[in-house]
Symmetry: C2
Subunit: 250 residues, 2 copies
């Protein structure tokens, strides 16, 4: 069985964005430049005004990254609503190996947002967004670092806030999907293996830096690594067989 | 030690593109639409005219994906050189956990290409590109499927060829990089663990489809899965310590 689900469900879309370590952010750098630009950035959905908003409620997208002065200058000088950007998040969950090249595919989750980007200028909101984004790298990391950032760190950090105007998601899971014309041929099915190779992101053993002076790897890191490894693997394997109820799966 | 290397080396850039399972392709859908669009696509660098060209020589980018009629119609109707696109490939290799949120980062490899996209209309070139892209999902998969594609499959497949006009890459590896002001404070270094969590893409045990009739998972799949798992893991772990010669590493 194969599912390709196009979704406008906010919870699903926001969940894909929040669990993707690098977002791709596209913008038009210059009316005289024919090419759009893409920057890899780190980002999270959230609401500063309604911090208790759920994942399935309207949220803004906060972005941080190796930010070229170009996107910053464009966002700073943009008039009205802000700089129009497109944000994409994609995760590969499996390789779909079927009878013909044409029916090959991936299991995947992808989300795309459109919105207007502005620099965050309010100090409280910036601090809140920095914490949100740092904790997306490793859960609870913020409180386990030297905080708050000092004045120089605050002014050198640039956070973009994207007011989302629309978004969509696509989720492909399940197994192979071949056509009757091939499935009916013994010569074909007798020699071609079909199935799915699950794919997921693995976190390895934390490697202390030469200057690290804390003996044990702290619990907020070890538990995050263990949880993500379990969760990522389970998603990719469960995605293969969407016909079984969850409890019958691996 | 920390390295951030900006590169225009074709071999490095093409290598990042070719080893990234999903590329993000950006284009401007419509002069009246303020937002650029991003599509996740599968792609590979190659040269149909000079098939023996090395990875460090000028190559085209061939793209295939869940292609909206929008990008296809735009590429089909584009005049002159083709539709201007931006292609981005990014891989995360590690989480850099340092003393302050500001010095947190990723080890990563990223590449960006700009170029003009046209539909591939020559049948031989299309077939060649389909094989190139299929074999990028699993090495040698093409010859282990029902090929060649029939007439209906050929005409329903759309391949974009991007003539690259410029490109750049960025590679960050190494460990944490903190500032003297924090490294000199016992109160800070005594309680904050610093180091790197290596990150890599794992391929799981192949799961046969319910309709599969080939008993053993074929060698072209098992050897690919084993090789990629070894290679991806080694890259992420080796990237942490760039000061040691390779043979002293894990």
């Amino acid at each position: 069985m194969l599912n390709i689900l196009a979704t406008y469900d906010l919870g699903a879309i926001h969940g894909i964005v929040n669990s993707t370590p690098v977002l791709h952010v596209s913008f038009s750098p210059d009316p005289s430049d024919p090419f759009p630009a893409i920057l890899p950035m780190i980002g999270q959905m959230g609401s500063f005004d309604y911090p208790s908003a759920g994942i399935d409620e309207p949220l803004d997208c906060y972005l941080h990254g190796y930010v070229s002065s170009r996107i910053m200058n464009l966002a700073r000088s943009s008039e009205g609503e802000g700089l129009p950007v497109c944000i994409a998040a994609t995760k590969v969950d499996g390789l779909i190996l079927s009878l013909t090249p044409n029916s090959h595919s991936y299991n995947y989750r992808s989300a795309v947002l459109h919105g207007y980007a502005k620099l965050v200028t309010d100090e409280q909101e910036k601090l809140w967004a920095m914490k949100l984004i740092t904790n997306s790298v490793v859960f609870d990391r913020w409180d386990n670092t030297r905080v708050p950032p000092d004045k120089a760190e605050m002014s050198s950090t640039v956070i973009l806030k994207v007011k989302v105007v629309d978004g969509s998601g696509k989720i492909r899971d399940g197994g192979v999907s071949d056509e009757r014309k091939d499935k009916d041929k013994d010569e074909v099915t007798g020699r071609i293996w079909t199935g799915v190779v699950p794919v997921w992101e693995t976190f390895g053993q934390p490697v202390p830096s030469p200057e690290n002076r804390v003996k044990e790897v702290p619990e907020h890191i070890t538990s995050y690594v263990a949880r993500m490894n379990k969760q990522n693997r389970a998603y990719a394997i469960d995605a293969v067989d969407v016909t079984l109820p969850k409890e019958e799966q691996h």
